[in-house]
């Protein structure tokens, strides 16, 4: 398959949300114009995004809502359960552990890890907090698909090295750090300050 840009994947996630909203409201078809309007993009972009994954919809009839939603769930890998662990049982870890949207999408948080003895053995929003010392051993046993990284910036690369060595292939990073990993490891970084910078840019460069 052709290399798909991150921005395309984000739009596919957004389209799926609009389609699910349509499903909830009992609507059975949607045009690329409607999808585009909801997503703040153009119908040409919608058709191009979907064209990467085969042929959808009928000219003049639009897309079948349940069919396209099902296909997008497949494309996004949401048909299976993904096993997730959180490394770093601080405030962001807790916010993520309680986030209900994850389970709904098949992301099952198995455990959180920390090096703070006051946290180890306790629960973080119902999720067990384990000693980070046993991270590699647990990864061998539990085979998590995704590690969510919420440790301080200066500890992040070390954790990446450890989990990558233990076989993890996907990392969602909240630490303010540039991380390095082999090319076969997918890393996504959520940088809160960068999001705010997008707004300061918008406020500064107003028409």
């Amino acid at each position: 398959m052709k290399r798909i840009a991150d921005s395309t994947v984000r739009r596919l996630s957004a389209y799926l949300r609009f389609l699910e909203d349509f499903e909830t409201r009992g609507l059975s078809t949607i045009s690329s114009e409607e999808l585009a309007n909801r997503g703040g993009t153009t119908s040409a972009q919608v058709r191009k995004d979907l064209s990467f994954f085969g042929s959808f919809g009928k000219r003049g009839l639009g897309y079948s809502v349940p069919e396209l939603a099902g296909r997008l769930r497949e494309i996004l890998g949401l048909g299976k359960e993904w096993r997730v662990v959180i490394v770093g049982a601080g405030k962001i870890g807790a916010a993520l552990a309680q986030y209900r949207g994850f389970r709904h999408r098949g992301f099952n948080i198995l455990a959180a890890y920390d090096n703070n003895p006051d946290k180890i053995g306790r629960k973080l929003e119902g999720i067990p907090v384990r000693d980070i010392e046993q991270l590699e051993r647990d990864i061998q046993r539990d085979k998590p698909d995704i590690v969510v990284l919420t440790v301080p910036g200066d500890e992040a690369q070390d954790v990446v090295d450890r989990v990558v060595k233990a076989g993890v292939k996907a990392i969602l990073n909240f630490a303010p750090a540039q991380l390095h990993a082999p090319v076969d490891v997918a890393i996504k970084t959520v940088n809160m300050a960068m999001e705010l910078e997008g707004l300061s840019f918008a406020l500064t460069n107003r028409e």
Copy 2:
């Protein structure tokens, strides 16, 4: 100025980080190739991104690190202090309130708002939690530039309507909701589940 895509702005934020890392290490020039390598993009993309904002660097000599960093801070609107309030004093609100990267970038969190009497009057990571009833009055007085929205999804649009009516022009949204606002209001949504979907996509569509 030409309309700049969100993805371009994100890359500018990333370039600034690499340049600051270079500054820390005492390096004075950088080539578009080096910037591109650090950002996982191409040197043509770097030159194109920067070309929106005028002429930088000298052919064969690369960019001056402090000059380009300074110019990017200007472009991103980081030369001034931005006044921020958080609406929703829950776990995500707390995680953001304690996030040190904000102040470093000139984002000054003035207050948090909540409707829970147990939270009102207390502090959230040192930031006062106020009654959401006084939100409009405080906005008139304190003139925040940016509202960070961390309320439940079904309360989000109501808060957006209120703060927009009170004059706020930029919103960073963490609520799992599609929000509507006038075109002159900038809204950025951070959707945790969508970030994980980017990873499930990557894991599903591996070469």
